[in-house]
Amino acid sequence: MSEYLGIVIFFVLSGAVVSAFILLSSVLGPKKPSAVKSEPFECGEVPFALPMGRVDVKFYLTAILFILFDVELVFLYPWAVAYRGLGVSGLVEMVIFVVILMAGFFYAWDNGALEWS
């Protein structure tokens, strides 16, 4: 078990540092709340109404396109690690996989999924 001691110390230290920062900034930091500050920051829609309202469908489209490339990465990483062992057949299989994914991406592109208008 002794080899895990470092990890335990790491967990304790990182937890202590994070809680110390949060505690210190909430105790010492200046507090001047305003309406603008409590709005969603950077990303997301500004809530004009209750959250039951509609979200632009384009966000879903972007999310789905993200999943396409995310899945591609999930398979490409282990393949890259094991590349030497897999050899040519591994390369061919990966090319087929990417071609199938790209057919889907081409479909989305062709049908205007990338145009944000």
Partner: protein, 469 residues
């Protein structure tokens, strides 16, 4: 590389589906995409037949089998794909569905069915069935502007994903007890290491059976079928009724005969319960239906029960009977749906069949043929197939179940032949229906031919119904 020969039919379908996806924006008419889909289905049947002995017995780490069982179901799924493609041409143009996407989904869904029938590993079975249902959800809801269609798709999605979760949980428990997902390995681990009767393995058997029972819409896991079939456009309902049921039965047959052979008693007990409930429930619930798609949905539930009669014995003969049954059922239900589709809007309602024999005698005669076959009246294929499965139930000692099946056949005659009474014994209403579209006529001709041939020469099918090895 020779492993790829085992998947040749699937590869043909996937290549065609991807080509359709790439050119999707340039396909305007459903007819051109349908022709390519039919060509792909024919090529898949040919590829499966021409290379039947060329590949190894199993491939991809013994997860895919190329035995006669898989080949039989490949032919069934390819034929189902071709007929569904023909039946949907007019519907897609009328409902403004983009054709290339629809046919690509149809092709990929059929690929999933083929994979599920060829798989000898629980995870590959899951993969195939999931590919099949994922495409089906979209096809059920593909007419986006109809709210009933959206509702059907959401209901189907929620219930079927719940069923998939149960199936996966069963697979994980089976893996936890035996350390394998391969059918042979599960069976040998259960029998050689004294794990047969292990309580967790029995739970796994039950969960896998329930997950697959959802796919074939057996009572009490049938609730999605009537809503999904009614909300979907009729060709999609026909495709699901024939194809997804056969895929579920194919998986049930192989899993039951090989993987869970040591737990045969528990497995058979579950199937007997499902069969009895489905036959009785489907037949009784169909009595009060006046929507044709709902009527055929409840009929498909009852037929799932009849098909299960072949699996309760756990013998190769019984599985052959179930294979014949799912083959025959696919064509008679595609035929009945085909007439409904051919009649258009009026075909969806029972009242639309009033006096059809006077205004469209040919269409009425075809419908009568399919209805007789669904009821199980000789000399149609439905009789021969039903005889086979009930005989199997009797031979394996399930006499009560066999009697129930025969009694419910009589009950089902009431609602099938009520359509016939409407066609032949009531006054025609409104205008006569137009001629059937050429594509629908072609599909109906194939279905009618097989329904008659299967009844006249029932032994023709038995040569091809090879149980899994």
């Amino acid at each position: 590389m020779t492993d790829l020969l085992l998947l040749l039919p699937e590869i043909v379908l996937v290549v065609m589906a991807l080509s359709l996806i790439v050119v999707a924006r340039r396909v305007e008419r459903a007819q051109s995409a349908a022709i390519f889909t039919v060509i792909a289905a024919a090529a898949a049947i040919f590829a499966g037949w021409a290379f039947s002995g060329a590949g190894p017995a199993t491939g991809f780490g013994a997860t895919i089998s190329g035995d006669g069982y898989a080949q039989f179901f490949n032919v069934l799924f390819a034929a189902n794909l071709a007929l569904a493609a023909l039946l949907s041409v007019k519907h897609l143009d009328a409902e403004h569905v983009r054709p290339a996407e629809f046919y690509a989904l149809l092709l990929l869904s059929s690929t999933g069915m083929m994979l599920a029938a060829a798989a000898t590993d629980l995870l590959v079975v899951y993969l195939g069935l999931e590919l099949m249902t994922l495409c089906s959800y979209i096809m059920v809801g593909i007419t986006r502007d109809r709210s009933i269609s959206n509702e059907a798709a959401i209901k189907y999605f929620l219930l079927a994903s719940f069923a998939s979760a149960l199936l996966l949980y069963g697979i994980s428990l089976a893996y936890g007890v035996t350390g394998a997902t391969d059918f042979q390995a599960i069976a040998s681990a259960a029998s050689s290491r004294g794990l047969a009767g292990h309580p967790l393995l029995l739970v796994a058997v039950a969960l896998v059976a329930v997950g697959l029972a959802f796919k074939i819409a057996a009572v009490p896991f049938h609730a999605w079928a009537p809503d999904a079939y009614q909300g979907a456009s009729a060709p999609v309902a026909a495709f699901l009724a024939a194809g997804s049921k056969a895929a579920g039965l194919a998986a049930l047959g192989r899993v039951g005969l090989i993987a869970f052979a040591p737990e045969q008693r528990v497995w058979a007990g579950i199937l007997v319960g499902l069969a009895a409930l489905s036959i009785a429930g489907g037949s009784l619930l169909a009595l009060s239906q006046s929507n044709m798609k709902r009527l055929l949905a409840y009929s498909s539930i009852a037929h799932a029960g009849y098909a299960l009669l072949g699996l309760v014995s756990g013998t190769p003969d019984g599985i052959s009977a179930t294979m014949t049954y799912s083959f025959v059922y696919a064509f008679m239900t595609l035929g009945a749906f085909g007439v409904v589709i051919g009649l258009g809007e009026r075909g969806e309602d029972l009242a639309g069949f009033r006096g059809l024999a006077a205004t469209a005698p040919g269409t009425a005669a075809l419908m009568l043929l399919f209805l007789l076959s669904l009821t199980g009246i000789p000399p149609t294929a439905g009789f021969a197939a039903k005889f086979g499965v009930i005989l199997n139930a009797v031979r394996s000692g399930h006499l009560v179940l066999a009697v129930l099946a025969v009694v419910c056949s009589v009950v089902s005659a009431f609602f099938y032949l009520r359509v016939a009474v409407y066609m032949y014994m009531t006054e025609p209403q409104g205008v006569a229906p137009g001629r059937l579209p050429a594509e629908v006529s072609a599909a109906l001709a194939v279905a009618a031919f097989l329904t008659i041939m299967g009844g006249m020469f029932p032994e023709t099918f038995t040569a091809w119904t090879v149980p899994p090895s």
